[in-house]
């Protein structure tokens, strides 16, 4: 279904629930995996994903069609992720390393993580990056978004995103070499 048709359904009271159900089914996987890669834990990712869709439901009337629906949803998910990580650091008064340690431990203890040693090593290297840089890396490397799409989502310039990604790759490779 085209975004235009979906939005029409979402804005009409009679078809709102139906339209929303389609929206969740269409975007749930992409949004969940985007969040999951940032917060690592399934339960946290599940909570945030649900929050994202509830926010979308609340503010769908405010969505202006100057952006694509997908990028708008992706942006909400990104903000929710960053807010979650920020709250986590603030709530426990943890230094950056401790949150990284907590997320890193989840990579080995969570029942829903099953990578080989190299994959886990890559994930641990990613956790060493600042949250925003990790986000940029995930969008480019795993989600394979174009820089233009990423710029639309993050409202950052393409040049800044390219620099951030290449910097992240270098840091990860340095980590992989040193370990």
């Amino acid at each position: 279904m085209e975004d235009k048709d979906l939005l029409e359904k979402l804005r009409h009271p009679d078809s709102r629930n139906f339209g929303f159900n389609i929206l969740v089914r269409t975007y749930q996987q992409r949004i969940y995996w985007h969040i999951r890669k940032m917060v690592i834990d399934h339960d946290d990712a599940d909570d945030i994903t649900q929050e994202v869709f509830i926010k979308i439901h609340k503010s769908i009337d405010a969505f202006r069609q100057d952006a694509r629906l997908y990028t708008w949803i992706y942006r909400i998910a990104t903000n929710e992720c960053l807010n979650f990580l920020r709250r986590k650091k603030r709530r426990f008064f943890l230094p950056l390393g401790d949150v990284e340690g907590e997320l890193s431990a989840k990579l080995t203890t969570s029942p829903y993580v099953s990578g080989d040693e190299v994959q886990l090593k890559l994930q641990k290297a990613l956790l060493k990056l600042p949250d925003k840089q990790r986000l940029v890396f995930n969008m480019k490397y795993f989600d394979e978004l174009s820089y233009d799409e990423m710029a639309e989502i993050t409202r950052t310039s393409v040049g800044a995103l390219k620099a951030s990604y290449h910097h992240a790759v270098k840091k990860i490779e340095d980590f992989l070499k040193s370990d």
Partner: protein
């Protein structure tokens, strides 16, 4: 292994079974029910939206901005004959009335002119002399 391209891209995270089948219902259950508009509801809403402020404004205007009716305008609505009868029956003496009533200068002049003009106009010289002599 120091290069990123040497690492195969693989999804290492997984979800509980049927997670994505259940998620839409899970999300839907957390969405507050949309209020259904009954046919009478918009009328009630408009009544509250438009009529209520109008009633409030009208009340304010009635009690606070209404021009005060003064004694002159109230008396103007009373029939002259009724007024004379009232004053006649009233225990007030002429002195009391003169003391209490605040005559306008214009009214006083009019009364004076009416009295003198009438008397002077209606009487000829002889009659005036007679009247003056009887004083």
């Amino acid at each position: 292994m120091g290069k990123l391209e040497d690492i195969p891209k693989k999804q290492i995270f997984s979800v509980p079974e049927d997670y994505f089948d259940k998620l839409p219902a899970e999300v839907q259950s957390r969405i507050p029910a949309t209020p259904v508009d009954t046919p009478g509801r918009p009328v009630f809403r408009y009544a509250l939206q438009y009529a209520l402020p109008l009633i409030v404004i009208a009340t304010i205007l009635f009690f606070y901005i209404r021009p005060e009716a003064d004694a002159t305008s109230i008396l103007a609505t009373v029939d002259a004959e009724d007024l004379i009868n009232y004053l006649h029956d009233s225990p007030m003496t002429t002195e009391d009335i003169l003391e209490n009533v605040d005559f306008y200068t214009g009214d006083l002049e009019a009364i004076e002119n009416e009295v003198y003009d009438l008397e002077l106009r209606d009487l000829d010289d002889e009659q005036i002399d007679v009247e003056l002599n009887t004083l």
